[in-house]
């Protein structure tokens, strides 16, 4: 098999002397699927840019060493020439779609390369079939769902017939259904064995069975490279590099090590593990007495006793005006009490964000009532509601505009009319709360994405709301930073006794923090209960294209061995399966 990607002694330094990649020596052969892992800032995106010619043609810097992509060095040729051999798919599908129909979008690349029209039509049909978008040729790409948009963008790259495909976190901005759709398309693409795929991601669970090779980067160096079996059997090293070990492999290895069994599978590959196989292995070892179930420490997330309601939603209907209008909420009834930690889950379009926007007053209900701390939101402006409810949006860059972190927090306080002396005290406290006390005078855009999100939390907390709402607190965060905002919310709730609501697609996050889970589907509440109650309703969850955390699925299969059903997270499972005879 011929080598399609080769890096030999590659070091890359951005302008400003920021070293992003250090002495990389890696290669991938034709038809191989390479998964690149690493914390934010490890150099994953730089590697993608280097392979696809975006560096040096769009982003500048200095490179040493040798790079070969399908036999040529992208450094030495125009980007449109590299594009004929190496396609690239970015994180955000919105910026990759510019044509009015899916057909025109997919045809755009080969048309620019002056491929004959009949050939383009053939390629368009072939690419759309591969990503399963047949029948949507005449739709406007902007009207598609997130997963469909990313698949359309993928088809547009595939239609250029690249030999190497570079995917830079292609599922990071999608909901679980969208992620599943894209991963399925990648499975079909891999099955063609024709194209070399280099994919960066944080989602190790969804790519474990796709990978032929895994490269792990840390501060620009490749610290691990090999088959999934070689890399994923080192969970401690992965954790140290800020990478989440795949849950199934992690549990398998943990159980095997505890019991003294072999971590290798007879004639089978670690990457092909599924929930049933891991549960069977753990069951066999439990049955043989080679491991013993350990008790799970009492949950600190006991449900709040009946306290006053802080949010009451009655028969809420919301209809988006348009051609035709879309009913996003269809008669929601809900009460959230003081001190609760609530997770709201559901696919994009299920109504989660619309519900929250009605609570904070950004949208006015079409019918029904929303009361916050006893007052009807219709009687209050968004600004007045902001004193009571703080909503932290996904993208911090929609709100940051001042010259320092301090000024950023002051903006909200000034709008509330807080006196200068009190505002200063609140600013210091909020910065200390989120751990940014040394960054008070830093220009917000010089902070990392994670710190910018923390700053937006600080700006909201300084306004001292009774209720804190986090919208997708794990978006674009790596394994280390994933739970930082949720941790802040947990402290906010525990130390101040306030209410927290999280909107998320991250089941592990919900399992870890929420004491109550609300599942939304098609503008309605499908389920409302404790995480244990909700995650045990697998049929209903499947209906809404959700899946319980893997650890909970394994634990349920081991219930007859004394593994408690309230095991929800990987950490819980590793703890209860950690006992020795």
């Amino acid at each position: 098999m011929d080598v399609k990607v080769k890096l030999h002694g590659v070091t890359f330094t951005y302008e400003g002397d920021i070293v992003a990649l250090r002495d990389l020596n890696l290669s991938a052969r034709r038809g191989e699927f390479v998964v690149v892992l690493g914390a934010n800032g490890a150099g994953k995106s730089t590697l993608c840019y280097l392979l696809s010619g975006i560096i040096p043609h769009i982003y500048g810097g200095r490179r040493t060493g040798e790079v070969q992509v399908a036999g040529r060095d992208p450094w030495d040729e125009p980007i449109h020439v590299t594009a004929q051999r190496c396609g690239v798919l970015l994180q955000d599908p919105e910026v990759q779609l510019f044509m009015p129909t899916v057909r025109a979008e997919v045809a755009f690349g080969p048309a620019n390369l002056q491929v004959p029209r009949e050939e383009i039509e053939r390629r368009v049909a072939e690419a759309l079939a591969l990503v399963r978008l047949e029948g949507l040729e005449d739709r406007n790409p902007r009207d598609l769902s997130g997963g469909q948009k990313q698949r359309a963008a993928l088809a547009a790259v595939l239609a250029m017939h690249p030999q190497v495909l570079v995917l830079d976190e292609p599922t990071s901005q999608l909901d679980p259904l969208g992620r599943w759709e894209v991963v399925q398309a990648l499975h079909r693409l891999k099955a063609t064995r024709d194209i070399t795929i280099i994919m960066t991601t944080h989602e190790t669970d969804e790519v474990m069975d796709l990978a032929d090779q895994v490269w792990v980067l840390e501060e620009g160096r490749c610290i691990l490279a090999g088959t999934p079996e070689e890399v994923f059997t080192q969970p401690e090293r992965l954790e140290a590099a800020g990478v989440k070990p795949p849950t199934l492999a992690h549990v398998w290895i943990h159980v095997a090590r505890k019991s003294g069994a072999s971590i290798h599978r007879d004639g089978q590959r670690l990457r092909d593990l599924d929930v049933d196989q891991v549960a069977r292995q753990a069951a066999a070892l439990l049955r043989q007495g080679r491991i013993m179930p350990r008790p799970l420490p009492d949950s600190t997330r006991s449900p709040s006793p009946a306290r006053p309601a802080v949010i009451e939603v009655q028969d809420l209907v919301y209809r988006y005006p348009g051609y035709p209008p879309v009913t996003a909420l269809k008669g929601i009834n809900l009460t959230i009490r003081e001190g609760e930690f609530v997770g709201i889950i559901g696919q994009n379009g299920s109504g989660k964000s619309t519900l929250v926007k009605c609570i904070v007053g950004l949208l006015r209900p079409t019918a029904g009532h929303v009361r916050v701390l006893g007052e009807d939101v219709r009687r209050l402006s968004v600004g007045q509601l902001a004193r009571r409810v703080g909503l932290v949006l996904q993208n911090p860059d929609y709100q940051l505009f001042t010259i320092s972190a301090r000024e950023e927090i002051l903006f909200g306080l000034r709008n509330l009319g807080i006196p200068r002396e009190e505002a200063e005290i609140r600013i210091q406290e909020a910065l200390r709360w989120v751990g940014l006390e040394t960054e008070a005078e830093t220009f917000p855009f010089r902070l990392s994405f994670g710190d910018r999100r923390k700053l937006t939390v600080a700006a909201i907390l300084a306004m001292d709301p009774q209720i804190l709402i986090l919208d997708e607190p794990t978006t674009a965060q790596d394994h280390r930073g994933r739970y930082q905002l949720a941790e802040l919310a947990r402290r906010f709730r525990e130390e101040k006794g306030r209410t927290v609501i999280m909107i998320t697609h991250d089941m592990e996050l919900v399992a870890r923090y929420a004491e109550r889970v609300i599942v939304m589907w098609d503008g309605q509440i499908l389920m409302d209960g404790t995480p244990e109650e909700v995650f045990s309703q697998t049929e209903l969850l499947h209906r809404s294209f959700l899946r319980p955390p893997i650890a909970h699925e394994i634990a349920r299969q081991l219930a007859s061995f004394g593994i408690p059903r309230r095991v929800l997270t990987t950490q819980d499972l590793l703890t209860v399966l950690g006992g020795l005879p």
Partner: protein, 270 residues
Amino acid sequence: MNVPFRYIQRRTIVHRLHPFTKMIYVLLTLLLILIPLYDIRHLPVLLPWLGLSAALWAAARIEVGRFAALMKILAGTFIFLMLAQGFTYRYGKTVLIRFGELHFGGSNVGELTLEGVQLGFMLSVRILTAASSLPLLVMTTSNAELMAAMNQLRLPKVMTFMFVSALSFTSLIFEMWNNIMDAQKLRAFDIDRMNLITRLRRAYVPIITPLILLLFRKANDFQIALETKGFGSPGRPTEMETLRMKPVDFLAIGIFLIIFVLCNVLRFRL
């Protein structure tokens, strides 16, 4: 908020017209409003053309709500024009409201005059005439058709794509603007409750600054997406849409010309 004037995929007679035909309609509209029409007696000059536009909107099956959105956008401008002209038109004689004597630039800006209001009204009607034609072109012609038509005109590839990508970017800007407004409102920034002067004084910095910063970032991503799709390659791209003028296009152009001539005749008869 949705972008009110974006391409609406339908199969009406207006959608099926060649983009050149619709461009000729826009061009004739622009020529018509260049005719100096200041007197209220000249209003009938524009009425046939406005009637043609209304007929085209109806034939394209574009919802009344979208026209209402257009009027909502323009209403403030119309009121401003009528008041500004009403108070400043130096040849105004019929006083409607008198606030006092305040002479400035040869006119008494303390009086609202009928002639001034009429002048503002005529300017508003001319703006309405223009504003009702361009959205019709955009709403009934896909970007692919526009690109194909511009390619047929042998316009430079970069110019064609700049035009089409500007249209695409509009919806992105709308979306970002709304998200930024929401983000700032959540920090008790009650822009909806501010009066016009306060808004102009302090409201737009927290909105426009993040918008500009985000646009820079999006434009960069947009450039990457474009160039990695071979956009910079030399030579003309393969044409995927073949556009041909049909009899209905010639008929439509004929009707446009007749109405255009009628408007001009009216101009000299009135």
